[in-house]
């Protein structure tokens, strides 16, 4: 029986930039920051309401990841295009979070819009991923 998701890997093309986005802009907390002898940095962050779900900011293009060149090149294409939808971030108020992140210089693919499931806009992390930022409709 599987009971919980404890880690999710998120491939990023720039780990330092990812730190800035997830910690300084989104307000996530650093859970673990450990650097191995070969320089590989294991950096995980958690969202405020999910302190036990670690998001691994995986530096996909660095030499120390163990990926071969072909894999790295394929990942680079995908990350540079920022075509990968990484998930849905929930917020109690989409419009306020949109205004706040915009003021912090975060890039959006779309403005808040009413959908049948709530209010949603599309935010990018600037490191190769985009997310739906959703305020679920009150039931």
């Amino acid at each position: 029986m599987v009971t919980r998701l404890s880690h999710t890997s998120l491939f990023v093309n720039d780990q330092k930039k990812a730190y800035d986005f997830y910690v300084n802009k989104l307000g996530f907390t650093v859970h673990t920051d450990a650097t191995m002898e070969n320089g590989f940095r294991w950096l995980t962050v958690t969202a405020p309401d999910e302190p036990n779900h670690e998001i691994v900011l995986f530096p996909a293009l660095e030499n120390v990841t163990g990926f071969d060149e072909e894999t790295k090149n394929a990942l680079k294409v995908l990350l540079d295009k920022a075509v990968m939808g990484a998930g849905v971030l929930l917020t109690p108020d989409c419009k306020a979070t949109y205004e706040e992140l915009k003021a912090k210089g975060v890039h959006f693919k779309s403005e808040p819009k009413e959908q049948f499931y709530g209010t949603e806009c599309i935010v990018t992390d600037g490191c190769g991923n985009w997310f739906s930022l959703t305020q679920p409709k009150e039931m």
Binding site: T29, A34, M36, E37, W42, T65, G66, F67, A96, A103
Partner: protein, 138 residues
């Protein structure tokens, strides 16, 4: 409750002001006046948007920062308390325990041990499969 666009701008600005100045003597009355809202209206809108009162948000912000500062052993707990904007060490300790579930001293010891361990034995924190897959592909 439908919130007008201009109210959004004001509440978000107020929240960003708190984010930037939480370590100082913040007066929520002044913030609501700067937002051109009555104290009551400001409190109601802020609570609706962020699902916590402005005062609770400010406290949480200070505690979050204190958690970071406590990882640095060079700073006394009293210094951390002052640096994040609390005036009394007693109320800081009480609120910290209430929010985090640990006393500042206990939290510090735990955080420091984790910090040391992540430096000395980083692989303790990395799921083994990630380390193995890395080795296989080397």
């Amino acid at each position: 409750m439908k919130i007008a666009d201009h109210h959004y701008q004001r509440i978000v600005s107020a929240k960003l002001f708190i984010d930037e100045h939480f370590d100082g003597p913040i007066n929520l009355g002044t913030i609501s006046r700067n937002a051109c809202l009555s104290r009551f209206h400001f409190h109601r809108l802020f609570s609706k948007i962020y699902q916590c009162t402005p005062h609770k948000y400010l406290t949480r912000k200070r505690i979050d920062r204190a958690q970071e500062l406590l990882k640095d052993k060079d700073k006394s707990i009293a210094a951390v308390c002052q640096e994040v904007g609390f005036e009394s060490l007693g109320s800081f300790s009480l609120l910290f325990k209430k929010e985090i579930g640990l006393t500042p001293q206990y939290y510090r010891n735990m955080a420091f041990r984790k910090k040391q361990l992540s430096k000395e034995q980083p692989t303790t924190f990395i799921p083994h499969c990630f380390i193995e897959s890395h080795r296989e592909q080397q």
